[in-house]
């Protein structure tokens, strides 16, 4: 990526956050005033297992620079096994993104419990920095796959 093109690059990240853990963790990070970059927009979902591949593609088509999926720690899923399905689909999606020419690192899946406000800030910061380092995407949108 050219430095010129990426100057002032401030990516937009779509966060698909499980209602029972990461969404509450984001709340906690807020109420306890833990600082983290504000690039992510949170969308509440019932379970990380609810994340259909379509949501990820729609986000990228719409212009997202990254997609962050937040689920419950292994064995802690409110629905017992939704996070395991998410993990399996996540691995497939990584390969698929690679196949269609999007950097797989624009997608992440993290486990954050409702009490881990600090962890939420940490992983969001890390992911945001990672996406920033990737620079402006050779995005699906810009390549005209959709719009």
């Amino acid at each position: 990526m050219s430095k010129e093109r990426d100057r002032g690059y401030d990516p937009t990240i779509v966060g698909l956050l499980c209602n029972w853990c990461t969404y509450a963790g984001a709340d906690l990070a807020g109420t306890t005033r833990i600082k983290h970059p504000q690039n992510m927009r949170a969308i509440r979902i019932p379970c990380s297992g609810r994340v259909s591949p379509h949501f990820i593609f729609t986000s990228l088509f719409q212009g997202a620079d990254g997609v962050f999926i937040g689920g419950c720690h292994p064995a802690d899923c409110h629905y017992t096994s939704g996070n395991y399905y998410a993990r399996r689909r996540f691995a497939l999606m990584k390969s698929l993104l690679d196949f269609v020419g999007v950097e797989p690192d624009r997608l992440t899946l993290e486990w954050v419990s409702a009490s881990e406000g600090d962890r939420f800030a940490e992983v969001v910061t890390e992911f945001t920095e990672g996406v920033k380092a990737l620079g402006r995407p050779n995005s699906l949108k810009r390549d005209g796959l959709e719009s």
Partner: protein, 296 residues
């Protein structure tokens, strides 16, 4: 408190954790109730046999209930029960006595007690036919045959099957006060269902569009709650969601390749609208750390 020979035992040894906390025997879990049961038995033995020597070999004294710690302390200090930290390696019969060989963990030295009576504190196990019952009911169980609660902290008496509740030892070793509490808790969960003329549910459930369903039943595979069953629609096999059992996680919706499944809340259209909406917000109102740079 008599031996088979009819004499009162003069030396009694209790051995904790026999068949529990022992991964090599396939029972790594703690049986929870035995520390207190053993302490109680030792105290009763003392009341019958004021002059007997009473030993109790333990790994940890797990006296973690209300008044439990105090009880064990009384057993040690007032009832003269000798608690020895150590796991006896073996018990050998010798001249009518049972010789208990262990290590005293505190001194690191071997210790040998010639006992008239050895009481093994066996670990609690699930019923042999527990897995069979669990399969019949469609509820989860662990490798030891204990039934799975829906959530280890927040849903201790519910199972993954709506309408099936658990209480007491079937879930894992627990003492009487806990079992009684769980029993009452299970009762209120059942009442929540039975007290109404109609079953009211959160609207957050999945629904099949039978026109789109190909009957692949991938959705059934991922449904942890066994809420999806086979049905017939226009002489084709299709999936059908039982809304009384569905918990609304959406795993089936995400798994459906044909888009035949939809949730009544958190449906695809709603989530697409949310995603699209994010990018329709005017610049500058999106509050970022740095400045807002257009990159569309």
């Amino acid at each position: 408190m008599r031996l088979s020979n009819g004499e009162a035992p003069q030396t009694i040894v209790f051995i904790h954790c026999v068949g529990s906390r022992d991964p090599s025997k396939g029972f790594p879990y703690c049986s929870r109730i035995c520390c207190m049961a053993t302490a109680k038995h030792a105290v009763i033995a003392r009341s019958k046999l004021p002059d007997a020597e009473i030993f109790s070999f333990y790994i940890d004294i797990r006296a973690a209930g209300k008044g439990y710690e105090e009880f064990v302390r009384r057993a040690i200090e007032q009832e003269d029960i000798e608690f020895i930290k150590g796991r006896p390696a073996r018990v050998i019969e010798k001249k009518g006595k049972l010789v208990v060989r262990s290590e005293d963990a505190f001194s690191g030295r071997p210790i040998e007690v010639e006992a008239d009576l050895v009481v093994l504190t066996n670990g609690a196990q699930s019923q042999d036919d527990a897995p069979e019952l669990a399969q019949t009911l469609g509820i989860g169980y662990d490798q030891y045959g204990f039934f799975n609660e829906l959530h280890p902290k927040l849903r201790p008496v519910e199972t993954n099957k709506a309408g099936v509740f658990i209480a007491g030892m079937c879930q894992g070793p627990k003492d009487i006060p806990e079992s009684v509490s769980q029993a009452s808790a299970a009762a209120v969960k059942a009442l929540q269902i039975l007290s109404k003329d109609e079953l009211s549910r959160e609207p957050q459930v999945a629904e099949v569009n039978p026109f789109r369903c190909t009957g692949c039943m991938d959705c059934m595979e991922v449904c942890f709650y066994t809420a999806i069953e086979e049905d017939e629609f226009m002489r084709r096999k299709v999936a059908k969601v039982n809304p009384g059992v569905c918990q609304g996680c959406g795993a089936c919706v995400a798994a459906c390749m044909g888009g035949a499944l939809e949730m009544k809340i958190f449906n695809d259209e709603q989530i697409y609208a949310e995603i699209t909406g994010l990018f329709a917000v005017p610049k500058g109102t999106r509050g970022t750390d740095g400045g807002e740079a257009a990159h569309e």
